[in-house]
């Protein structure tokens, strides 16, 4: 199975995916859905992630969320699990996240030439868009992926 299929089919694989990324796990990110070149993550509200009194999550948390979901979309564009790293990440913060709101982030890998992936993502509180990201990611040769995501023989 390709990574997106294995992640789609097995909740334990989705849990293991974020467990391999210490900061994503520390913030409580959950990988909820995968599809070819697409991924969705949820970030449940926590008060220690706020930007200040009576504020929603800090925009730094949004950067972690969107970088993570972009990476998941890259994984969902691959035929086999590979190591890759962020090459560039552009963030836009048009609206503050509402206090107390759970967030949903969705990413789509728009292009992948086998070396560089181009990904767009957004984070929403309900219907309200709070942040957008445009990221590029580059495959790293000779380095093991964070999670093997091997389906055959499991």
């Amino acid at each position: 199975m390709r990574p997106y299929q294995l992640l789609d089919a097995r909740p334990a694989a989705r849990t293991a995916y974020t467990a391999c990324i210490p900061l994503a796990a520390a913030l409580g990110l959950v990988l909820t859905q995968t599809a070819p070149r697409r991924a969705c993550m949820h970030l449940p509200w926590r008060a220690d992630l706020a930007g200040g009194p009576d504020q929603g999550v800090h925009r730094g948390v949004l950067a972690v969320l969107l970088d993570s979901v972009c990476g998941a979309a890259v994984m969902c564009a691959l035929d086999n699990a590979q190591s890759f790293s962020t090459l560039s990440l552009r963030m836009e913060y048009p609206l503050p996240a509402p206090p107390g709101a759970d967030l949903i982030a969705q990413a789509g890998c728009l292009d992948f030439d086998g070396e560089v992936a181009y990904v767009h993502a957004d984070a929403r509180a309900g219907e309200q868009l709070v942040a957008r990201a445009a990221g590029t990611f580059i495959v790293v040769h000779g380095r093991a992926p964070l999670h093997a995501l091997e389906g055959a023989g499991d």
Partner: protein
């Protein structure tokens, strides 16, 4: 950098729960410039195989370095409009250090350019640039980060 300016930067960080969670610190380097430091605790890692900081944590580090520079100059940033970060080298080591340079201070928006390094300032691990919305002069804007 004056002691009051460093104290302002430190107080600003202390009032920001996510900065506290990441243990971001404001320090002064030998030349008297403001540095924002991210201690490389296990919780900030993105790639455990090489011990590299998470890409989102690096965005936070650079954006915060810019906010601290504005804070030290007595300016109030009410919003980061956008930021762009390039990842140049693996962000590994015991701590990452970031510095921000003011590119342009307008009436409503300031643009700053940031770099961060691990052990060697001449070998940055990330570089970035961001636009910061400024509070209207003479008034206190409600700050959202």
């Amino acid at each position: 950098m004056t002691d009051p300016a460093l104290a302002r930067a430190g107080a600003w960080l202390a009032a920001n729960p996510f900065a506290v969670l990441l243990r971001l610190e404001a320090r002064v380097d030998e030349a008297g410039g403001l540095i924002c430091v991210l201690p490389m605790r296990p919780e900030v890692i993105g790639n455990f195989r090489i011990g590299a900081a998470h890409g989102g944590a690096l965005v936070m580090l650079l954006e915060t370095a810019g906010e601290l520079e504005l804070c030290a100059r007595g300016l109030v940033c009410t919003q980061v409009i956008d930021s762009s970060v390039d990842y140049l080298r693996p962000a590994t080591g015991a701590a990452l250090h970031a510095r921000a340079v003011l590119v342009r201070q307008g009436r409503r928006v300031a643009n700053l350019r940031m770099t961060a390094w691990s052990d060697d300032p001449s070998r940055p691990v990330v570089s970035g640039q961001a636009n910061y919305r400024l509070a209207a002069p003479g008034g206190v804007g409600s700050s959202r980060t």
